[in-house]
């Protein structure tokens, strides 16, 4: 079972590499360079901060783009080409297939974040007084956030079309960053129903602000070990839950040619 998953993960990773996903990394490098060289006259004493902000935000945005656009069409592509039937005709379970796809995309994410992280640290190294290893904590939290989003996109890709899967995943990303405010807003309402609904929305959607300590890290606060453990548990719990539900949906799905 494990070897099947690993083989699928490996082939998914190679597929994304063949799709020239890493061009985005080059674009990231360009943005980092631009934020240093072109924008420096406008930073007025905040060059290190702005470089770090732009770099960390770009990592999330590029990671999100890859996860959403590659992940949403991943299953559909194989359904259309009919290769999924070939794969599933071998002793590979549908759940294994989904987990393999999920891990393959996560492997792409890890490689991308590693290269972008190195570029980021290199650029900070060139700006006096900006380099710090505390950014590793922010990279890790970004990876956890994108892992969760990866599980969300896998979940949607098993049940709806690629376009809808991408739209719904972006919706989850948006709500995930607003869920705390939705709850706070609900608490201000007079009606008990509104308060309970906002509470429900808060618990039914992943709170992605858990992974957003970029500002604090840029301003010199290191992410605590306790928070890293909590965020890891939170991301893993959501990812496993979504993959289990996605597996159940996918197991019942009728595939052409099967």
């Amino acid at each position: 079972m494990t070897s099947n998953i690993m083989t699928l993960a490996g082939s998914t990773f190679l597929e994304t590499v063949r799709d020239r996903i890493f061009y985005l990394v080059a674009l990231f490098g360009f943005i980092m360079l631009a934020s240093t060289a072109i924008l420096s006259p406008l930073t007025v004493g905040a060059q290190g901060k702005i470089m770090a902000d732009v770099g960390l935000a770009s990592m999330v945005i590029f990671g999100l783009l890859v996860v959403v656009f590659v992940g949403s069409s991943m299953v559909r592509k194989e359904l259309d080409k009919g290769t999924i039937v070939t794969i599933l005709s071998k002793p590979v379970g549908r759940r294994e297939y989904l987990i393999g796809k999920f891990l393959g995309l996560n492997l792409t994410l890890i490689s991308m974040l590693a290269v972008m992280g190195l570029l980021f640290l290199l650029m900070l190294f060139l700006a006096p007084g900006s380099f710090s290893l505390r950014f590793l904590g922010a990279f890790y939290l970004t990876f956890l956030e994108l892992t969760l989003i990866n599980a969300v996109v896998v979940f949607f890709s098993t049940s709806v079309s690629p376009v809808l899967a991408a739209v719904f995943t972006l919706g989850v990303f948006t709500v995930g960053h607003l869920s705390q405010s939705i709850r706070d807003f609900g608490q201000l309402q007079d009606g008990v129903f509104q308060r309970q609904m906002s509470e429900l929305v808060y618990y039914l959607t992943p709170n992605l602000e858990v992974f957003n300590l970029r500002g604090a890290v840029v301003h010199g606060t290191a992410v605590s070990g306790e928070h890293l453990v909590m965020a890891t548990v939170y991301s893993l719990a959501w990812s496993i839950l979504l993959l289990v539900v996605a597996g159940s949906i996918f197991s019942r799905k009728e595939l052409r040619g099967e």
Binding site: L39, L42, T43, V44, G45, A46, K49, I50, D53, V54, L56, A57, V60, F173, T174, H177, L178, S181, L208, E209, N212, R214, G215, A216, V218, H219
Partner: protein, 237 residues
């Protein structure tokens, strides 16, 4: 011949279209000046601004910072007034309350362009509330009291506060000791110089502290003997 005419026609079309694009852009730039001001007029504030950035608060604050710098640059060149100054600064500091440079620069503008010393100090105090551990902000308040208001006691208080911050250097303590001395608190100043002498690693600072300790100790001794109103020895005629 026919193909030649076609090529000529295509070339002409490219030139005309390029010209149209260029002129449209010029027209757009003209409209943009007014639109820019309107954009700032309807600029969201408060919690909505924070929420609308979807977790990219700091990057959004940086974007506004660029806009602010350009806006101030245009003011310096006489192209606009500063009526949206507060709006932009509020936006930046709401999005990123730890953006120390924004408070610092805004305080400088308040002081230098509006002549509003109280507003300048208020801006710095707002920054201190969000960043109690950054020496730069209380130091700047001390600097304003020292240089502009000549209120050395208050200046000393703020310099001391800056000296207690985690990122403080010898500079804050040195200014505190000088301000206390100028404000007439010789004993406090002496204590601050002694403290600086013990804590600093810089030989130059140790030398300065020792010199000041000697001067202040001497003055205190003279005051002890001749009283508080003693103004110095009578010069020989």
């Amino acid at each position: 011949m026919k193909s030649r005419t076609k090529t000529l026609f295509r070339g002409l079309a490219v030139v005309v279209l390029t010209l149209v694009i260029f002129l449209s852009l010029r027209e757009y730039d003209g409209q943009q000046e007014q639109a820019d001001q309107q954009e700032r007029l309807y600029f969201p504030s408060g919690k909505f601004l924070v929420e609308s950035t979807l977790g990219f608060r700091e990057a959004a604050a940086d974007y506004l910072w660029f806009r602010f710098i350009q806006y101030y640059g245009a003011y310096s060149m006489g192209q606009n007034d500063l009526r949206y100054f507060d709006l932009l600064i509020d936006g930046i500091t709401k999005l990123d309350p730890q953006f120390v440079e924004a408070y610092f620069f805004a305080s400088l503008v308040r002081w230098s362009s509006f002549g509003d010393i109280d507003g300048s100090i208020e801006m710095l105090k707002r920054g201190i509330l969000a960043n109690p551990d950054k020496a730069k902000l209380p130091f700047q308040i001390g600097f304003i009291y020292y240089v502009i208001e000549h209120d050395y006691k208050r200046a000393g208080h703020w310099f001391e506060m800056a000296g207690r911050c985690s990122d403080a250097t010898d500079k804050e303590s040195r200014f505190a000791a000088f301000a206390r001395y100028k404000g007439g608190d010789k004993r406090v100043s002496l204590a601050l110089w002694k403290n600086l002498y013990e804590s600093t690693d810089s030989p130059h600072m140790k030398e300065l502290a020792l010199k000041m300790i000697d001067i202040i100790t001497g003055k205190i001794e003279i005051q002890k003997i001749y009283g508080k109103d003693f103004i110095g020895p009578i010069p020989e005629i």
